[in-house]
């Protein structure tokens, strides 16, 4: 049945040459892709690294506000006319209070 109804056909000539062409073309394409892929990947990796670096740099926490000196604050606990500068980013506090008055007890007589 197969001999009568299913005749064996001869393939078109030149099949092997065509196959060789296709295989060679495929190899050339693969080599070209490999040749271009490596530099492209390297450039892409460098670009990604730079982008990450820039992103990290910009996300760094901002430094605190610089400290500034306020107007001179009198400090009578040290002495009259002594003043100091409040150097801090925070608001200046109250001036220190003057020291308590010193009493010379040697001049005090105690009577029985």
């Amino acid at each position: 049945m197969a001999d009568r109804e299913l005749p064996l056909l001869e393939p078109p000539p030149g099949g092997l040459a065509m196959l060789r062409e296709r295989l060679d073309a495929g190899d050339r394409r693969a080599a070209r892709i490999r040749r271009f892929t490596i530099p492209v990947l390297a450039v892409a990796a460098a670009a990604v690294a730079i982008a990450v670096w820039l992103g990290t740099d910009r996300a760094r926490p901002t430094p605190p506000a610089p400290s500034v000196a306020t107007i001179p604050l009198p400090d009578p606990s040290i002495g009259n006319g002594v003043a100091f500068y409040w150097v801090s980013p925070s608001e200046p506090g109250p001036s220190p209070s003057p020291p308590p008055a010193v009493v010379d007890i040697s001049a005090v007589s105690i009577s029985p």
């Binding site: 049945m1 197969a2 109804e5 299913l6 005749p7 064996l8 056909l9 001869e10 393939p11 078109p12 099949g15 092997l16 065509m18 196959l19 060789r20 296709r22 295989l23 495929g26 190899d27």
Partner: protein
Amino acid sequence: MTNSDHEHRRALEALYVQHERGLYNVAYRYTWSSEDARDVVHDAFVRMWRKRAAIEWPRAAGLAYRTVLGLASNRRRAFAIRRLFGAREASEPSGHASGADELLAAARTDAGVRRCIDRLPESLRSVLVMCAFSELDCAAIGEALGIPAGTVGSRRTTAIARIREELDHG
């Protein structure tokens, strides 16, 4: 190209030369176009070339037939879809006969056989075509199709009986 590639190329070309006719005939009975059949065979060998490192060439004939069957089946399905949408008319007859009478006779035979083969389910069609055209024995065909050798024989008998019935009644 490395030495290993040269060896692979030699083995692949030897396989092609040895099985070209069988593979072409198998593909032709799926696509019914000589150009498509040759394309399918070449596609199969290009695929095998890409996977050359994993192929054991002395035993690669079954793989070649299996690949051709898969690709031819896909192309046949694509053709059916294109025809469904009217994108392509029925393919040309084989074109291997020379005279007008021979062409006509070949076209009639082609049409009759094609109708019969096309009506077979895939499981029978693949076995019938492989048995009729491949240079493989039943065991190798079974290995290529993933079925036991006994099943190859029984399916072949069933397919021939169906075709005979079609031809007798058609």
